[in-house]
Amino acid sequence: MSTQNRWLIWIFLAPTMVLMGVLLYYPMIGTVVESFYDTSFISPEPRFVGWAVYEKVWNSRQFPQVVWNSVVWTLGVVLLQNLLGFFVAMLLNQGLPAQGMLRALVLLPFVLPGVVTAILWRFMYDPQLGLINSLMIRLGLVEDNAAWLASSDTAMAAVIFVAVWKGFPFSMLIFLAALQSVDRSQLEAATLDGAGPWRRLIDVTLPAIKPVILVNVVLTLILTFNYFDIVWVMTRGGPQNATHIFPTRIFETGFGQFRFGEAAVYGVFSILILAVLAALYVIVQKTADGRRRTA
């Protein structure tokens, strides 16, 4: 845009900047300030304590567990959701007969409110009454009633599975759009050169949709890290904190136990860790690019 259009830039940006400033940054800065105070519902006079609450949280028994759970949860969901989303997008891009219907069906999990999804699945996972054990017993896969959500060993995997079920349609949709934009002539050229489906995928398709992969991964990373409903309703962070992640911890500390200062500290840590995860991914991606280019 030329210099005379600078005004236009600012006019276009103004509403966004006002909204984000007032409704996101003002509250968030308030939260950061609050994190340096010892404040809770029952002691309404905030007391400045510097880094004391940070130290308390950092040294608490739950903190390392919440960090670890958050990382496992986020990476697990992001990886599986995008892999599944990608393969389903490939599958529904082959011109098979039922393709149109399936493209609509796939969106079903996506439109179901998160709270309902969580209740539905919690019920399906129920050791005695749930459909999953019922089907598995009928199919002879298990003999005993497996308690998926009630064991620290399986609970995280079980909630990740649900998040993937609910989230993969979104990734699929974006991948589908990207796949359709892959240059047909290049694919045909590769076929003529004798490339099989696997080589076509590696050499033509993946490079062509690489920007979309980046968008998808970063987007799902952010959404998943802060996703609250599914874990909260299914396990409330249990059993034995095995599924406690940052959003559930912030909610429990702030609204469940009225400790605002501590909730604020968890909030600040959560932004830092998420920013590190996102930055790491982008850096790895860029480095890999750079290496490929120089190679």
Binding site: Q128, W148, Q240, Q257
Partner: protein, 402 residues
């Protein structure tokens, strides 16, 4: 000049008359989905407005799982209702935060005293000798509801369920292929806390001692938890993510012999095909089954501009002839409770006796933090940890709160 004065006077007079008529009270309650109670509650509110034409009451009901968060947001945002029902365990925190009004003088003036209510419920509204709520409804965790047919088949008598040893023997006899002896549950929630508490109380133990220090690592409490850890082998699979609702579904389909519930469960059982009965909890070393109090108090918010009208409304809601119509637990007004139980519940005498013995949860402004540590402890217990060690760790955490 005269005209102006007259007009002004008339205007002022009209204005004050209008003001007297325009009191609108915001009343928040947690949503009673179980019983279709809201209709009756609305009927009672209508009756109140007919008795007090100058007061309008707007009722907002909020689903239970979100009620605490919603109320806290409103208070912090400076937008609290005039009146709300507060869970017994929240009153101390709301009082200490300065969010709810001191009702001591109002209660004395209105003739409301501890004698007219269940003592435990009344005490839950007292903070530093001042009263911050009027008991609205109560119940007690837990009654042991049993399936008579399953007990008969296993040769177990209901009276067997009333002692620690008897319950264990019965649970073992009642556990067979595809049938579960006892409906223990251990998800992260208050219902887990109150059930385990009642076993601790019944064994002569405490959560906090008189000095406010953690007593969960003392012998009676540790023994009770070790007992439950052992009893859990006769419970359905997956109790670490199961709650009282899960156990109800199993009890209703006939695969669970004993479930732990407050008296509120009775209407559901009455509507079912199950041949059921109940006994009052389980007695340990103390010789008496001691339950844990639950229930709700009515509180007026400090921010309310209409405290007098709000107090009038509370006085109405706990009146003997009203209280029973507006609750689905048990009316906190003892006279109303007697009539309510006689009409709506089996074994009213037993229920009253259990209410009389029941103990409250720790009445501390930091109760919710204590409860979170208790949940962690109880989950450790149910997953097989060394009880004494886990209790010591929990007590360190609880005592570090102060």
């Amino acid at each position: 000049m005269k005209t102006i004065l007259l007009t002004t006077a008339a205007a002022l007079g009209l204005a004050s008359a209008a003001a007297a008529q325009e009191v609108t009270l915001q009343f928040w309650d947690n949503q009673q989905t179980e019983s279709g109670l809201s209709e009756f509650q609305q009927a009672a509110v209508d009756r109140f407005m007919a008795e007090n034409p100058d007061i309008t009451v707007e009722v907002t009901t909020i689903p239970y799982p979100e009620y605490q968060q919603r109320l806290l947001t409103a208070v912090q945002g400076g937008n609290a209702p005039d009146i709300a029902t507060l869970d017994q365990i929240w009153v101390a925190a709301f009082a200490q935060a300065g969010a709810v009004a001191d009702l001591t003088d109002f209660a004395a003036g209105a003739g409301l005293s501890r004698d007219g209510f269940f003592g435990g419920a009344w005490d839950s509204a007292v903070v530093n000798d001042r009263l911050y709520g009027i008991p609205f409804n109560v119940d007690v965790w837990q009654f042991s509801f049993y399936n008579q047919d399953l007990l008969d088949a296993a040769g177990v008598a209901p009276a067997d369920l009333t002692t620690f040893d008897g319950l264990r023997t019965a649970a073992e006899a009642l556990t067979t292929d595809g049938q579960f002896g006892v409906g223990l549950f251990g998800h992260r929630g208050e219902d887990t806390v109150v059930v385990v508490n009642s076993f601790i109380f019944s064994n002569g133990g405490e959560v906090l001692n008189a000095a406010g220090e953690c007593a969960l690592d003392e012998a009676p409490a540790v023994e009770a938890m070790e007992y439950l850890q052992d009893l859990a082998q006769f419970a359905p699979d997956g109790i670490l993510n199961a709650n009282s609702g899960t156990m109800r579904e199993l009890f209703l389909n006939g695969s669970l012999a004993i479930e732990f519930w407050p008296a509120l469960e009775q209407p559901t059982l009455q509507a079912s095909d199950i041949n059921w009965g109940f006994v009052n909890g389980t007695a340990g070393a103390s010789g008496t089954a001691v339950g844990t109090f639950g229930g709700w108090n009515l509180a007026v918010f400090e921010s309310s501009a209409n405290k007098e009208a709000a107090q009038k409304f509370i006085e109405f809601m706990v009146r003997e002839d009203v209280n029973g119509d507006v609750v689905d637990l048990i009316p906190a007004n003892v006279a109303a409770a007697e009539a309510f139980l006689a009409e709506n519940r089996e074994g009213p005498e037993d229920i009253l006796a259990h209410l009389g013995n029941a103990k409250p949860r720790p009445l501390s402004a930091r109760y919710l933090e204590v409860a979170e540590i208790q949940m962690t402890l109880y989950q450790d217990v149910f997953s097989g940890a060394n009880v004494a060690e886990a209790a010591t760790a929990a007590c360190e955490d609880i005592d570090a709160l102060n």
